[in-house]
């Protein structure tokens, strides 16, 4: 029954379209969607803040980054206006990682107050500028990016 099969196919296609659309309107992408919480928001949750899978986003406080390449041990502090959280990761920081930058980490806030992160993501700004004097040479950064991956 070719006609029957085609009808089922059409119905399936319609279901795919409508369900993607429904998800969009009523599902995860509602007004409530929060891709990451800031340190201040997470700390304000009190007891609910701990031991839950969390995406935490903030600015890396300048001067707080400690990176031990041999032990693969990365520590830094994330902040927003309302708070600061110390982050620990056992992965190399992305090549674009700089102090003062926006960073998003995935992991859990532990009872010790340290956020144990399984992945560190760097948020790039919408600015595109050529290098000024004193910045690391882009060519060198490009090489290090290739080595990284």
């Amino acid at each position: 029954m070719k006609g029957g099969r085609k009808k089922i196919g059409a119905a399936l296609a319609l279901i795919i379209v409508l369900s993607s659309f429904g998800y969009l309107v009523y599902g995860g992408i509602g007004e409530n969607i929060v891709y990451f919480v800031t340190p201040g928001e997470l700390l304000a949750k009190g007891n609910d803040a701990y031991d839950r899978p969390t995406r935490l986003g903030g600015q890396v406080v300048p001067g707080t980054m400690e990176w031990d390449a041999d032990a693969l041990d990365l520590r830094f502090t994330l902040q927003d206006e309302d708070g600061q959280i110390r982050v620990h990761s056992q992965k190399a920081p992305p090549a674009m990682f700089r102090e003062g930058m926006g960073v998003i980490v995935e992991g859990k806030l532990t009872r010790t107050g340290v956020f144990e992160s399984s992945s560190v993501m760097v948020k790039h700004s919408n600015e595109y500028r050529p290098p000024e004097d004193g910045h690391p040479k882009p060519e060198d950064m490009y090489k290090s990016l290739i080595r990284e991956s």
Partner: protein, 241 residues
């Protein structure tokens, strides 16, 4: 030309401008890419990775223009009920999904060295993936729907509804927290990058127009072929295809 067609006048002629325009669009794209790659300085943060801008951003723009064409053609179809509008909508969706796919792939390649990940479910990336699914569903619907008029009506409905996602994709970086940065403006972009981006925006637009026009022409040929075959069947001829 195959003179055995019973009605030669019904076979659509290729528009005269199509081939020259295609050659022009291709050469313009090559020249624009070369100019952008050679003229712009490396970015102070991401170095030469910045060059992905010249394909990712124009692709993303085309991923919004093509759905807009599907939308307008779908509205025109429901209003005037002429097959040509349905065919234009289909052509724009077929080409559009290629650009949406390219945008996702290029973005992923760019994300790995800059953000540190291939993919994450942030609102910009998620809504763009949904945009891809919508047009995949649109094309699947077209492939399966049996009756020509019914297919055109259903497709038009999906073509109109699906477009609602485009402003959501565009505004996602402003409405919600994302890892994806907000749109760059001429103020946030040094002069060294602007000309290259603008040239490639036009280059991609020309390619988009050429591909949609080409696909529309092929759709007309297919339609004419079907009409001839049906005519022959009615006339009781044996069909040799």
């Amino acid at each position: 030309m195959d003179t055995s067609y019973s009605d030669i006048a019904a076979v659509p002629q290729r528009p005269r401008w199509l081939l020259p325009f295609g050659i022009f669009a291709t050469l313009f794209l090559i020249a624009s890419q070369a100019a952008a790659l050679l003229m712009s300085a490396p970015d102070r943060d991401m170095g030469h990775l910045q060059k992905i801008l010249y394909v990712h951003v124009p692709s993303a723009w085309m991923s919004m223009i093509a759905p807009a064409i599907v939308f307008v053609a779908s509205v025109l179809y429901l209003w005037k009920r002429q097959a040509k509008h349905d065919m234009v909508a289909a052509a724009a969706a077929q080409v559009g999904i290629v650009f949406i796919g390219l945008t996702l792939i290029q973005g992923s390649i760019w994300a790995r060295p800059t953000w540190g990940i291939w993919w994450t479910w942030d609102p910009r990336l998620t809504t763009t993936a949904i945009l891809f699914l919508i047009y995949a569903g649109y094309l699947a619907l077209r492939a399966f729907a049996e009756d020509e008029d019914q297919r055109a009506r259903w497709s038009a409905a999906v073509g109109i509804m699906g477009f609602l996602n485009v402003p959501i994709v565009y505004m996602s970086v402003r409405w919600w927290r994302t890892i994806h940065q907000v749109q760059s403006t001429p103020d946030t972009m040094d002069a060294t990058y602007k000309l290259g981006l603008r040239l490639n925006a036009f280059a991609f637009l020309f390619i988009l127009i050429f591909l949609i026009a080409l696909r529309y022409y092929i759709a007309r040929l297919e339609r004419a072929r079907t009409a001839v075959l049906e005519e022959r069947t009615l006339a009781g001829d044996k069909i040799h295809v």
